[in-house]
Symmetry: D2
Subunit: 360 residues, 4 copies
């Protein structure tokens, strides 16, 4: 193996830089291979200066830093890129240009770090003959085939820390505090941070809720002498019978909506229960900052494993964590079914056993 | 001195428990005096069980905790309490009931920990003969006569930490990130956290801004190759010529508004500059959590100084920090003029010298 | 199930309180069972007031706190307790007294939270007819049958944070900084925190090292222009050919030795390489403080699972984490072989691939 | 003003990079002046490549980072440099070489960021005609004329955090925990962190202690039902009648001694009180890591003020904080008397009033 490239796509996640560093170090020191960095997702292949060498010096000091030194702000899917021509937005397929650029660079492997959307593109490029290797990235933890991926643990700790902080205010002021967390389709962050942060009510996309049910819990607590309650709500949580409140296309581009589900719950519950409510929308804070030890360790192992997989020619596959082991699975398999919280699983049952309400 | 009481009023602030602990320990160990705790501001004097003994055991382990073990959720000013009678809200003066209750408890001093509003009540009660001592509490740092008070330093670090986290996302995505911070009338948190967190634009109530001016700064940065910008905006910041966007009565009851100035800036700047913007409203997170070392140390000194001041009979006065010294000043003096950021002072000049724009 | 008890033994670990809380809440709310707390390990059964009811109120607010509300400071193994009689220390077996006390309390289950040593006692008591259930606790992560247990993740983050802090000093002063971490027999903390914190050399008990080898790495870095190096050393690491430097009997009672392996490495490497060295011994700091989200979530699941296992009569067994699942295994199986870092496994190979030296 | 230089000397402190950044930005943007960086204290003036331009790009992203991009590892005082000649160590004065180098660079000002020792050199060079400006740096807070300087607040929070962590272990295990903190001659860190972290005994260089006195406090607590005690000890604390245990020459080069005062207290108190003791030596961890908001804000103001002072020609002077104001004072004045904790001042009195023992 002489030369490979690495790119990061989709929303940023703590640990991306640790993956990049591990790829560069492992390729350089273990395989004596050169690594190119691609700027802003697949866009880098189409723009002047978009592909450049990554040396040991380029990755010095980036391990503890959030974000990605490569950028992730692509203009979207190269198989369906929106461009403006003669005043109109049209969709064009530039994937052949990307593939041509990759071939002309003599890349023996392209390591693609990204979520659902980005990995789909990697899979399609693989079918076009590009030697892609996937590294899963999802703060929401909604990719199958890997127990968890980097970024999730950092987000969890940021969310729990926010619950810890809100707790003292809730207690002092006899209020219902609502914390809106990331998770459009998967409620892992909200479930785990909610339990870890001592939430009384947890609302997740997988379990539709009723406002009345939330009020019952709040009232029950007041009767027992607890004048406050804490609600952790995933942005994608929704009332029974309603379609999902929130929906966005594209690849994990997260938008903290002002006026989202947190706000809706605050208003409805405030009115129905007759108690003061306050919302905090944690938004982007869950994506940023220095990664936790778990995320740095996992991201490093993923980066190194991706290089080893490249050296073995395991293209069209993705590195993954299963139990304590780093394995690899076909991208098609990983992307077949998204991962969701099991409403009847052990995690939810544990929370219910502790007296936590899911509003159902 | 045989017996004194302590109450906390207004919004909660990290360090309240440290004040309470210092009052109880200093009074008990140094003066052999008994301390009573008053629940939920002045309300405790009017309700059964609202006043109760605080022992060394009551305050064990509370030093590192946010919030207040006494609660602060009063139903408002005893000189103008809103009550519902025969279906109508009327305003009554119950201050004489409070004063009577205090006299009947044989209190030699009442230590009142609170902001502007709460200290005004303390001052009025003092004029009615109640032996009150003030301890200033304001996260916004808007009380005169004291250089700073507890809670501010913790809020500053929470705000700076948020800027640090948003930085990595802004950089990775080429965006303008706006962080809305506390500060309805005073911009200290936003100025200091903004500088400490590397903001490019700082918007504070004391310096009206123009949207166009913000865009210029963002564009100037893009031309220099920085594809992102960070804006720190105090909730009370407002455009030139407009009245303050946000106004709330009462005593420091902070409401993070969804759709506040952060949102307005995001929309206007996003449109005017043609760049993606994202808002985060930090809200209550600035009030909660374990106090910093500075806040615990200052709160402890304030609590101890308030007891010493009580022993010396310095009623109608407030403890304060001046330079490295704990002093005391008349409540009337402290409340005469609220403290604001000096738009022509050294702090703002330093920020401007670094190239930070105030949007003016 | 009407009544069960819970005790914590051995060194403290972040998450013990979360286990206790989950046991009390799950037993009380899901099974309507009463829970007794046992003070200071098995000692509580032999002392007046050593066993007392744990109510929902007893566990309020303990989730974010380190340590254990039950204490762990036992006087040792009830099967071999050292007592002083007539001026001499003799060893007596008081296990029958413990068993009698347990029977007289009509306990249907005894949940024992502890490490190696404590779980051995639980297993022996089970063979005497006591209905014990184990919950594994080990900061070092050296218990088999469970992928990891609570406390480890918190320790890892404390260790990584220390490496991050030392990094800046090492860089500024051109020094070799040595951080001595926990791990008498197992090097997991040092391996994972070392990789996550960017260590250049990692010394663990499973891989004997040579001082000369460490010097080579330091020199190699200096030749490449890096004037500093970071060494993470487990307290149980030892030079090739020497017996383990450090050994302690008993159940995970950790003693940060001044003059331990960190100090030895500092002196030998400092002399051999002719470069200034500094040691920091992190010691107890790795055991304390608020647990991370992962540790609170896992500890809560373990506590709840232990109660469910008790309800099913699964005595003599221990709850464990395998992949994403909570399972249970026989205590004998869990204790048969202690867990160690595999010197030829993926973790060590990844570290070596990044250029990290193990001093071998 | 066309050209100035900046150097950092002595031990590193969180905030050094914020000073450098503020100097470069303020000089460049406000005064259109060029800034040179000097590597490794005054040594940079004598070595090839030791002086190099600092641009806006050089200081991008350094605000949140600990350490110093300039390095501080000088070979010592240029007025008395130790060199080895013909196998012997001799002391030579190379200050004239430094002054010549400075003149040849056409520097209009040299900003020297350092502690006691470094500022003394700045003062002597000023008397030789070099236009020096001082910026005080001392984690111990032992420089007069400024109420505090950057780095101290970060160290305080690291020390308090350690006390918080040790607390839970002390409680769970019924032990005396000793935390040895920085402070060879001044006890500010230990006093303030000790009070903020809830220490029961505080040992500082300014108040000699007796072991028996410490035991009394520990026993008194045991009698009241507290089975553990926390001791915060400054490295320079010493028993009554003994000379200071610890002494180092040079400029703030801090060495965490294994076997220092913490260890001595642990042994003596352990024996005398018959209770288990454990020591943690925090050492370099107090110097490293990302600066707090206060330290970044103060360091930024100091850097900007130093440039303004240079523009005004205020050479031989040092920027300082007095009250809320940045002022400047003559270096001779600042260095005349070192700052110490006042044993009879308000801080110590407050601690005593809370029941804290100073072991005297």
């Amino acid at each position: 193996m002489k030369r490979l490239a690495v790119l990061t796509g989709g929303g940023d996640a703590p640990g991306l830089n640790a993956v990049i560093r591990a790829v560069v170090k492992t390729a350089g020191l273990q395989y004596q291979a050169e690594v190119l960095g691609v700027r802003d997702g697949f866009d880098g292949f189409l723009e002047p200066g978009g592909v450049f060498p990554l040396t040991l010096d380029s990755v010095r000091g980036i391990l503890p830093r959030g974000g990605t030194i490569l950028g992730t702000a692509s203009r979207g899917n190269p198989f369906a890129r929106k461009i403006v021509r003669e005043g109109k937005t049209i969709v064009v397929d530039v994937s052949e240009d990307v593939a041509t650029s990759i071939r002309s660079l003599n890349l023996e492997a392209l390591i693609v770090v990204g979520g659902d959307g980005t990995l789909h593109i990697a899979e399609e490029l693989y079918r076009k003959g590009v030697p892609t290797i996937g590294v899963p990235k999802t703060i929401d933890n909604d990719i199958s085939g890997t127990e968890v991926t980097f970024g999730f643990d950092t987000a969890l700790n940021v969310a729990m820390d926010a619950l810890d902080r809100l707790h003292t205010t809730a207690e002092a002021h006899h209020r219902v505090m609502i914390l809106e967390l990331m998770g459009r389709d998967a409620g892992f962050i909200t479930l785990e941070a909610g339990v870890a942060g001592g939430a009384d009510v947890i609302l997740i996309p997988e379990i539709p809720f009723r406002f009345e049910s939330i009020c019952e819990k709040v009232r029950e607590r007041m009767e027992r002498g607890s004048s406050f309650s804490m609600i952790a709500a995933a942005e994608g949580a929704r009332p029974v019978g309603e379609r999902q409140v929130y929906r966005m296309g594209g690849d994990e581009v997260y938008t903290p909506r002002l006026g989202g589900i947190g706000q809706v719950v605050a208003e409805q519950v405030g009115e129905a229960c007759g108690i003061e409510t306050r919302v905090t929308v944690l938004g982007h804070l869950q994506r940023g900052g220095s990664p936790t030890a778990f995320d740095r360790w996992l991201a490093t192992r993923f980066g190194a494993a991706a290089v080893r997989l490249a050296a073995e020619g395991g293209f069209g596959r993705m590195v993954a964590l299963q139990g304590a082991h780093i394995v690899n699975i076909a991208l098609t398999e990983a992307l077949a079914v998204p991962k969701r919280v099991d409403p009847h699983g052990e995690g939810v049952a544990t929370a219910r056993g502790l007296g936590i309400s899911f509003g159902d």
